[in-house]
Subunit: 376 residues, 2 copies
């Protein structure tokens, strides 16, 4: 049985006039398989003169005819690992041969003159060429946003992964602060966060490090000095689910303004968090966020943003897209909420939280070390 909402997928494909979906990114292959990706190429796809490429194909409304295209190296693993998709071609593997195999399977299911959804900003050019050769009568359209819609409501199992990865990333940030000393270069803090995530089974994605004054966030030789603020805005992933958390620290007591701006971030975040409810429109959320920001005496140097997060950062719910202002927040939506103040002397003060919409309101994921961390 399909591990995703196949009725919703059929309806989205119907609206989009899409006859066949051919997903090929790691995250969407994982989503559609219900967790399976070929372990050999999970973290790196390049090989020889091409790259490993897998496809999951789903003909509209016929989830029982879904198919999987992968590499011969997957055969033995798929004998012992679960994969709900029985129709498989494991004689391909690189970008062109996988696409050619996917085209043959799609054609055998009647897509040879249909509209085929692919992930245009990700699908390799050589793979699209092979699909066009194999399906010369088909029209190819982008399915990226359709897949965002499909993934928008997270199950409890998905939220559990997001909770776990958010907790681990927030914990790694704390280790970053604790590695601080007077004059530590920000790249050293970033490296500590990276190894800390790695040691706990989280794939490190990024660490932005701003040691005030100024706004430079790239890890560098810039030093975090006594009395100064440090912002650590870090990302990590588990099973393609992302965490994106920002916390503030100071080496010794910071300036009164530094503490005040951090407290303002926390206050604004708190006000919006308490306000969030399933059923609110995206427009109401954006307005509530602006109201909370404007209540601060520092609003002119502040900014607040809310965006969906899951397998992609800035996915549904797209709170800030004016054309979606009437859509409603639902249970299982995940929001990243970020408040920041840019002050030339203090630096870039920012708190970013992840929130799962529950029947009661919003649950913080990774709510660790949210208050200003004063070190040493």
């Amino acid at each position: 049985m399909a591990p995703f909402d196949s009725t919703k997928l059929a309806s989205l494909m119907d609206e989009a006039g899409m006859d066949m979906l051919l997903a090929s990114t790691r995250h969407n292959v994982r989503y559609l398989t219900g967790g399976y990706v070929y372990h050999f190429h999970e973290r790196g796809q390049r090989m020889g003169s091409s790259q490993y490429l897998a496809f999951v194909g789903v003909p509209r409304g016929r989830v029982a005819d879904a198919f999987y295209v992968g590499a011969s190296g997957e055969k033995m693993g798929l004998d012992v690992l679960p994969l709900w998709i029985g129709r498989r071609n494991l004689d391909a593997g690189d970008a062109s041969s996988s696409a050619a195999a996917a085209a043959r399977m799609a054609a055998s299911l009647g897509a040879d003159h249909g509209t085929v959804g692919v992930e245009m900003p990700f699908l390799p050019a050589s793979a699209l060429a092979a699909l066009q050769t194999g399906l010369p009568g088909a029209t190819f359209v982008d399915a990226t946003d359709l897949l965002h819609e499909l993934r928008a409501i997270k199950t409890d199992a998905e939220i559990a992964i997001l909770r776990d990865v958010s907790d681990r990333v927030a914990t790694a940030i704390q280790a970053g602060f604790r590695a601080g000393y007077d004059g530590v270069p920000t790249h050293e803090v970033a490296e500590k966060i990276e190894t800390e995530m790695g040691a706990h089974g989280v794939t490190f994605l990024w660490a932005f490090t701003n040691a005030g004054p100024g706004y430079l966030r790239a890890p560098s030789e810039t030093r975090w000095e006594r009395g100064r603020m440090l912002h650590l805005d870090c990302g990590g992933e588990e099973q393609d689910y992302l965490a994106d958390i920002c916390r503030m620290g100071a080496l010794g007591e910071p300036s009164a303004l530094g503490r005040e701006l951090t407290d303002a971030c926390l206050e604004i975040q708190g006000a919006v968090r308490r306000h969030l409810r399933a059923g609110m429109t995206y427009g109401e959320i954006a307005a509530a966020a602006q109201d909370a920001l404007q209540s601060s005496s520092h609003a002119t140097i502040g900014r607040i943003v809310a965006h969906g997060i899951g397998m992609v950062s800035h996915e549904q719910p797209m709170i800030n897209r004016p054309e979606q202002a009437d859509r409603r927040l639902q249970r299982g939506h995940i929001l990243s909420l970020e408040t920041e103040f840019l002050h030339p002397e203090v630096g870039h003060v920012k708190i970013e939280d992840t929130l799962a919409i529950t029947p009661k309101g919003a649950e913080g994921l990774g709510d660790i070390g949210r208050e200003l961390q004063v070190i040493g």
Copy 2:
């Protein structure tokens, strides 16, 4: 000054009839920039409805006119981080807008009616479409193999990275063996190797685990049991340079045949390693490898392969491509050499080493724990 051999690049582009090179993969962008990639998207490129994409453009023979296309978030970092390329567009960032910006810069340098080399098995389809729109008179060809040629001879600095990552991967494999106990599932050993690499700043790529009998190499619930062999064939990377190492272990003393097959791998690997010299043809290397294998009484169940490794596994030198049999091994080439025996009762016995070609012969990178590791 360009950090790569710009004379060689000009000559390769001349041979290929290529007027402009537009590289867009992380590893080739890093190679052409001399180490720079945007840290935010180093480990994950997807964002919103597209993905981050950078380009390095080099017009043939005019390395001073090279250009870089990236995202606005890179601006402040590039003020303090070194990048030899002065001509930059940092107002793009996603697949289509970066490609459109790259097309504009390429057109301004005269490529609007030329032959443009791109990485077809990697370049997103939407990016190729934007390039075609921006350069309607240009012809697009694949530059993947040309870039392999450009990168084929490693500098001492590159070899130092490869030595470091190979040592760390080999060390993580040893930690994997030491985590073994009677009945440990192979996925647990793989997870140990992953966290061990992560804790030491290596990006984990894969762990193949074969606990005999049988040939299953996917980490799974399969158990490593007393008296049985375990093969750990693992990959990791640092700064896009790969390590690919296989070592053998046993829980307690293995069968006589298990030890014999491991010793045979080591003997064959040793014979080929001692034989390698700059100046040998690829054909001579392949023949020497076959001779060494055939000297074993188990040759009928054995296989030996040599292939180049660096930023890509199976790159130049392509020892096993018959059409390249006359090419010669050079100082700075890196070989992965792997000998294996498949025996239904013992399992998959394999030793894989990485060898840097030096003026004196071949230096093993990651030569840690090559002998059979008997645990417990």
